[in-house]
Amino acid sequence: MKCRVSIEKEGAGAKVTVSGVVDEDMDFQTASLLGYSNLEFYLAELKGINSCGIREWIRWVGTVKDRPVIYHQCSKIVIDQINMVRGFLPEGGRVASFYVPYFNEDSGEEKNILFREGIEYQGTELRPPANILDEAGQQMEMDVVEAKYFKFLKG
């Protein structure tokens, strides 16, 4: 599953969509982020990133410098990296939405719920949806260690 990057100009800014797996073969030099006033990344389809990929990502988004950067639809993999490595989300960058895994231990069902800024969270405050149900109508629980997963909201 090769990594694909698409950059679409939107006014003075750009919409950047990244999908697939970011690994040691990824060369972001062909996806320049220079020349845009702001960048909005869409990351729902980013399915994997390894340690070399993390390094390449940091080098890539580090070229943005002080222009506004917003990450949308971050998968768990992206949130894990934001929490683990400073620089994965550039300084001053913002997460506008991200997925939170839910799980029901009895049915074993797993589900990802999109948390949106201003709705399911605001600043450091979480407002999780009241009822997340599996296919059988059973309550599902948030499937993360909250102190670790939501660490990035505290900046």
Partner: protein, 280 residues
């Protein structure tokens, strides 16, 4: 095994009397043991924070750590470790067999060069999809990525060889409860002692501060990613022949239970041990 009084208090006297069949000493991680015992002893822990248990291991040269929430988990871990120590050589050719001991299933994949990686990842993903749930697939594939880089790219570099001229073998093995991803390179260049110190250092300093931003080498945080995702890791080295890294996971359960599992670690170098201890 010779159990320290503290380890006996956790495991129970009866169990410790039944298991007294070898010269291996068993201590709790927090006990003070002399440095010369650390390499050959088994340590038991209940420490969730990797920074803390890795620092203790690196400081004292501890290479065998079994962790578990209670006596049952610890005894299961001890049994696994004993099986591994009794089959140190066989582990390099049959990691699943050594891990599970009895009935299990396995799939083996061999690759020679980086262009084969995409197909391999997809085939491993297919097997994981049959063996575990979505979170298991995610942690399994994350670990696969790091094992692949260690074996295919880092090992030849460390051995002064070139990428793509020696086979890398992956094995996924499983029983009803657990699955294991093992990766064996054909270089045997891993320095287990150095790796342990590096893991402790990376965890102590944090990923960003430890990361090698120079493209000429690995990023330096792969071991951190392995430890975050796997329930236990065995690093076995047969110098100049093989390095085998074997990671264990639960087949069921969500991300939270995977994160909260207490991690076990074992580092061994086959020739060293062969000389040091003839049997358990």
């Amino acid at each position: 095994m010779k159990f320290s009084p503290q380890s006996q208090s956790i495991l129970g006297t009866q169990y410790c009397e039944d298991e007294q069949d070898s010269s291996v000493s068993v201590y709790l991680l927090d006990e003070l043991a002399t440095d010369d015992q650390a390499k050959t002893s088994l340590y038991l822990g209940q420490e969730s924070e990797p920074t803390r248990f890795l620092a203790k291991m690196a400081d004292r040269g501890i290479v065998n750590l079994v962790q578990g929430l209670g006596p049952l988990e610890l005894k299961k871990g001890i049994a696994r470790w004993v099986r591994l120590m009794k089959s140190r050589e066989r582990f390099f050719s049959d990691p699943g067999g050594v891990h599970f001991g009895t009935t299990f299933h396995k799939k083996v994949f061999r690759i020679q060069a980086p262009p084969e990686k995409i197909l391999l990842r997809s085939r491993i993903g297919e097997v994981l999809g049959q063996v575990t749930n979505e979170s298991g697939c995610e942690v399994g594939l994350t670990v696969f990525e790091e094992l692949y880089m260690n074996a295919m790219l880092d090992a030849p570099r460390e051995a002064g060889g070139s990428v793509g001229n020696r086979e890398v073998l992956f094995e996924i093995s499983w029983d009803d409860v657990e699955f294991v991803i093992s990766c064996r390179d054909s270089w045997g260049s891993l320095d287990a002692g150095r790796l342990l110190k590096k893991m402790a250092d990376v965890h102590a300093r944090g990923a960003a501060a430890s990361m090698n931003m120079n493209r000429a080498g690995g990023a330096g945080i792969g071991s951190m990613i392995l430890l975050q995702n796997a329930d236990s890791i065995v690093f076995g080295v047969w110098p100049t022949l093989f390095t085998l890294v074997s990671c264990r996971f639960a087949r069921a359960g969500g991300f939270r239970s995977r994160m909260e599992t207490l991690k076990s670690l074992c580092f061994y170098t086959y020739q060293e041990l062969k000389n040091e201890r003839s049997s358990l």
